[in-house]
Amino acid sequence: MNRTYSTALNAVMVVLGAIGSILWLGATFRSGETYYFWGIWLIVAAAGVYLVRYTLENGRDELLALVRKSLRSVVVPVMGIVVAILIGGVLMAITGYDPIAAYQALFYGGLVRNWHISVLNAAPLIFTALSVAFAFKAGLFNIGAEGQYYLGAMGATWASLYLGLPGIISIPLVFIFAALLGAAWNVVPAFLKVKTGAHEVITTMMLAHVARYLSPVFIRANGGDPATSLHPYVTFEILENNMLPSFSQFMEHANYRVHTGILLAIIVALVINFLLYKTRIGFEIRAVGENKDAARAQGISVGKNIFRALLIAGALAALAGFNQVNGLDHKLFENLQAGYGWNGISVALLAGGNPVGVVFTGLLWGMLDAGGQFMSRTTQTPSAIVEIVKGIILFLVVARYIYTAISQWWKRRKQKQTTAVAAGQA
C-alpha cells in the first residue's frame, strides 16, 4: 500500500485515539456523560482505522491471524478475572455478605459513577507497573518500587515547595528531578547486583523499607510540625505553579480533581514501549534479560544494561510519586495511601510485563479500587474483599500466563529435557 496512504491513516488513527482518550479519561459520568461516550466512540473509531490500515497492507488472512493472536493473549487475563470474581463471590456468600449486590455496587461505582476515581487511581499504578515491567525485561525483579515511589514523592514535594518558576518550565524540572531521585535510589542495588551478584529482590526491598521510614522525617522537616498539625503528618501545600493541570481547565463539566497525570502515564508507557522494542538499548536490555550469556558473547555489556534497567525502573516508579504529589494531593502525607509500589507489581504481572498492557491492567486495578470503596460505602461489604479478588486474579493469571507464554519455551525445555534425560538426542 502506498506510503502516503499509510501515513495518512496512521495520522488519522493517532488523532482519533488521542482525542478519544482525553475525552474518556477526563470525564466523569454524571457531569461529563457526553465526553465519556464520545471518548469511547472515538477510541473505537481509531481502532477501526488501525484495522483497516492493517488489512489494506497485509491482507485479510493476516488480519484474522492478528485477531486470533490478540484474542489468545486476552483470553487468559479475562478468564482469570472471571474465575476470581466467582471465587470472591463465594467467599462473600460464605461470610454472610450479598455477592450480587456487592458486585453490582463494585462495577457501577468503578466503571460509571466514580470513573474519575478509577482514572485517578490508575495513573500511579501505571507508572510503578512500568517500572516493574521494565526491570522484568532485563531479568530483574524491582520489588522495591515502593521505595522509589517515596523518593520520587519526596523529591517532587521538595522541589515543588520552593521552585517558583512558571509552570511550563518548573513542572518538567520537577518531573526530571523526581525521576532522577528514583533512579538514584536504585544505584546501590544495581551496583551490588553487578559487582557482587546480590539479589535485587532483597536489596531493593530493604531500601524500600528505609525509604518508608525516611518520609516522615522529610515531612516533619517540611511542614509536618507535630505541635501544630494533626497526625497523620503532612507537608505544606506545594506552589500552585507546580500543580498538574486538571482536565476541568480545558473541558467543561470534567471533574476538577481529575488531573492530566494519566495522560502523562499513557505517554510514558508508549515511550517505554518504543524504547524497549524499537531502540538499540531496548534490544540489549531484552537480550540480557533473556540470555545474558549469549548477550555477553556478542559483546553486550551485561553490567551496563542491568544498571540501565534498574535506574530507568527507579525513575519510573518515582514518577508515580510525582504524579500523586503534583497532580492529586498537592502535598505529601505521611501515610501516603501506600501500596502503589506493591500494587504496581501486581499490575505488571497481570499485563505479562508488557508496557502497553499495563495501561489497561492499571485501569482495571484502579477501577476495582474505586468500585471497592463505593461498594463498601453502599453495601457495607468490606473493601478488603477486593484485595482478595485481586490476589486471586493475579495468582490465576500469572499461572496461566506462564503456561501459555512459555508453551514455546516448554518445547525447548522438552528438547533440553529430552536431551538431558535421554542423555543424547531423541
Binding site: 531502540t279 537480550a287 558473547a297 556478542q298 559483546g299
Partner: protein, 505 residues
C-alpha cells in the same frame, strides 16, 4: 536366552515419532550395541526401557515376563541399570553419597555411612573400578565420574546395564579401560547394551548390533559378519561420505592470529591455560585436539574477551587485543562459534532475524542511529536464510523453534557473514546429524578457502582430522604436540591427549 525383549515399542512425542515399532532382544551375557546417528531415537528407547518414559504402545518383556515401569524405581528394582551420557551425579556430594542415593543403608531415617563406605569399597574392588569413596564428585575427572556411575548401577545389583554414549567424553586410552571393565562385567554375568554412534567402537566391543534410523530398526547384524561401510550405510540410509574432502590450500605466510605465552585461570582460580602459544595463518585450519577440561574453553573465552588472561599476549593481524572488550574484538573481525549453542550462541526467544543481528545490532542494516531498523534486519536475515539454507518458517520465527542443525546454521550465518579475518569455532557439530555435520564442515572449509584463519576446537578426533591442516594437542593447558593429519593417526593424537610424552629414543 533372551533376558530382555521389546515388542512393538512406539513412542510418540507431539511433533516427533521417536520410536516406531521397535523390536529387539538382548541375550543374556552378551554385549549388544544400538547404533544410530544423533536424532535416531536411541536415547528415547533407552529411557523407555529405564522407566523414564512411558511407551505410547508396545511391551517390554523381562526374563520372560511382561513388565510395565512407571518410574525408574521399577526398572532399578528389576535389575536394570543405566549410565547416562550426561552424568547423573551431584557435584557437591561424595562418591559414596552418590552411589547410595535412593538406596541408602541404615534402618530408620539415619544413613549408615560406615556400612555404605564398606559396600562401596567392596564393589569397586570386585569389578576393578577403583575410586576414592570420600572424594567429592566435583573434584573427579570425567573418567572417574563414569566409574561412579557404573558403580551406582552395580550397587543396585543391575543384571542389565545400559550405557548411553559412554565414550563421548573419554580419551582413546580411557576407552580401552572402559572396554576392559565392560568385558569383566560381561564375564560376571551382566548383560550390556551400549548406545553409540561410533562405528569403530561397535566393531571393537559388541557381539551384535541393531542399527536405528529415524526411529526404526534398519537392521540387525552379528559384528563378525558386517563391515564398517555397511553399518554406516544402514545408519544413514545412503552412501555416506565419511569425511568431507579437504583440498590442499596454500595458507598465507604471515599469521593473522597469534597467542603468546598466555595464562588464564579458571573459575576455581586454578591455571587452566599454562603458558600457551600458537599461531594461525590466513587460509589454514588449526585444530586443537584435547580431552574436555584441559583448558580449551578457557582459551576460547580468553580469546574472545569473556575471561581475563593473567599474562601473555593475543595478537590479531599483529596488533595486541588483550585490552579490548568483547565488543571491540568483534568489531576487529573475529568471529566466534561457541560450544554451547543454546547458551552462548543464541537468544532462543528472539527471532532468527534478531539472532542474526545481535552483536552488530548497533549498525546498519540493523539499526539507524539509536533506533532499530527491523525492515533492514529482516531483509538481511532473508538473504542469509537463503544462502545458508536455514530451514525456518521465516526470519521472524523464534530461534527456539528451529532444529539443532538449523540453529547452528543461524550462528554460522551470523558469524561468517561478518567477513572475519579470524574464526574461532568450538565444537561446531556437537549433537548434530550427519547431514548437518557435512554442511558445517564444508562451510568451515569454504572460509578456509577464502583465506580466513580458522581455529577449530573439537573433542571429536574425526572432525579434527577431517578439517585441520595442523593439529595442536592440548593437555593441561599447554600445547604438548604439533602434528599434521597426514603424518599421524588417532591413536597417536590420543596418546598425547592423555599426557603421553615422547620417548626419547
Amino acid at each position: 536366552m533372551a533376558i530382555l525383549e521389546t515388542r512393538h515399542i512406539v513412542k510418540q512425542f507431539p511433533k516427533v515419532l521417536a520410536n516406531d515399532d521397535i523390536n529387539l532382544t538382548l541375550q543374556e551375557g552378551e554385549i549388544l550395541c544400538l547404533l544410530g546417528e544423533n536424532g535416531a531415537g536411541k536415547s528415547t528407547l533407552m529411557n523407555v526401557l529405564y522407566g523414564l518414559y512411558k511407551p505410547t504402545s508396545g511391551t517390554i518383556v523381562l526374563d520372560g515376563e511382561e513388565v510395565e515401569f512407571s518410574s525408574p524405581r521399577d526398572a532399578i528394582d528389576r535389575g536394570l541399570g543405566m549410565v547416562h551420557q550426561h552424568f547423573m551425579l551431584v557435584d557437591t556430594l561424595t562418591v559414596t553419597e552418590n552411589i547410595i542415593l535412593g538406596s541408602e543403608p541404615g534402618s530408620g531415617p539415619v544413613i549408615d555411612y560406615k556400612t555404605a563406605r564398606q559396600q562401596v569399597k567392596e564393589l569397586s574392588e570386585r569389578y576393578g573400578l577403583q575410586v576414592d569413596p570420600d572424594a567429592r564428585i566435583m573434584n573427579l575427572s570425567v573418567g572417574l565420574q563414569q566409574r561412579v556411575e557404573i558403580l551406582k548401577a552395580l550397587y543396585r545389583k543391575a543384571k542389565i546395564l545400559i550405557l548411553d554414549e559412554p565414550t563421548a567424553v573419554l580419551t582413546p586410552q580411557e576407552v580401552e579401560e572402559l572396554f576392559a571393565v565392560i568385558r569383566t562385567l560381561r564375564d560376571s554375568g551382566v548383560s550390556i547394551i551400549i548406545i553409540t554412534h561410533k562405528l569403530e567402537e561397535v566393531k571393537a566391543i559388541a557381539n551384535r548390533v541393531y542399527i536405528l534410523r529415524r526411529g526404526r530398526i534398519e537392521g540387525e547384524r552379528e559384528i563378525a559378519d558386517v563391515t564398517k561401510e555397511e553399518l554406516a550405510n544402514l545408519m544413514v540410509g545412503r552412501s555416506v561420505v565419511l569425511t568431507v574432502h579437504r583440498e590442499p590450500h596454500e595458507a598465507k605466510p604471515e599469521p593473522v592470529f597469534t597467542v603468546e605465552n598466555l595464562r588464564v585461570l579458571d573459575d576455581r582460580e586454578v591455571e587452566a591455560v599454562d603458558d600457551l602459544s600458537l599461531t594461525v595463518k590466513p587460509g589454514e585450519v588449526v585444530g586443537i585436539a584435547g580431552v574436555d577440561g584441559n583448558g580449551q574453553s578457557e582459551l576460547a573465552e580468553a580469546i574472545m574477551g569473556l575471561r581475563p588472561a593473567t599474562s601473555g599476549r593475543i595478537l590479531l593481524r599483529g596488533n595486541d587485543i588483550e585490552h579490548l572488550t568483547t565488543r571491540e574484538r568483534i568489531n576487529q573481525r573475529i568471529s566466534h562459534v561457541p560450544a554451547d549453542r543454546q547458551r552462548f550462541g543464541l537468544v532462543l526467544p528472539f527471532t532468527v532475524a534478531e539472532n542474526i543481528a545481535i552483536g552488530y545490532h548497533d549498525r546498519a542494516p540493523n539499526s539507524r542511529g539509536l533506533v532499530l531498523d527491523y525492515a533492514g534486519m529482516e531483509k538481511q536475515a532473508e538473504e542469509l536464510i537463503s544462502s545458508y539454507d536455514i530451514r525456518t518458517p521465516g526470519p521472524l520465527a523464534p530461534a527456539a523453534h528451529l532444529s539443532g542443525g538449523n540453529q547452528q546454521k543461524v550462528i554460522l550465518a551470523r558469524e561468517f557473514s561478518r567477513n572475519p579475518d579470524f574464526l574461532l569455532v568450538n565444537q561446531p557439530t556437537r549433537g548434530l546429524d550427519v547431514g548437518a555435520i557435512e554442511y558445517i564442515h564444508s562451510q568451515i572449509l569454504r572460509m578456509r578457502g577464502q583465506d580466513v584463519g580458522v581455529m577449530l576446537i573439537s573433542l571429536e578426533l574425526e572432525e579434527i582430522f577431517a578439517l585441520s591442516d595442523r593439529i595442536l594437542v592440548m593437555y593441561e593447558g599447554q600445547i604438548v604436540k604439533e602434528l599434521t593429519p597426514a603424518e599421524t593417526d588417532e591413536r597417536e593424537v590420543g596418546f598425547y591427549m592423555t599426557g603421553g610424552k615422547e620417548r626419547s629414543a
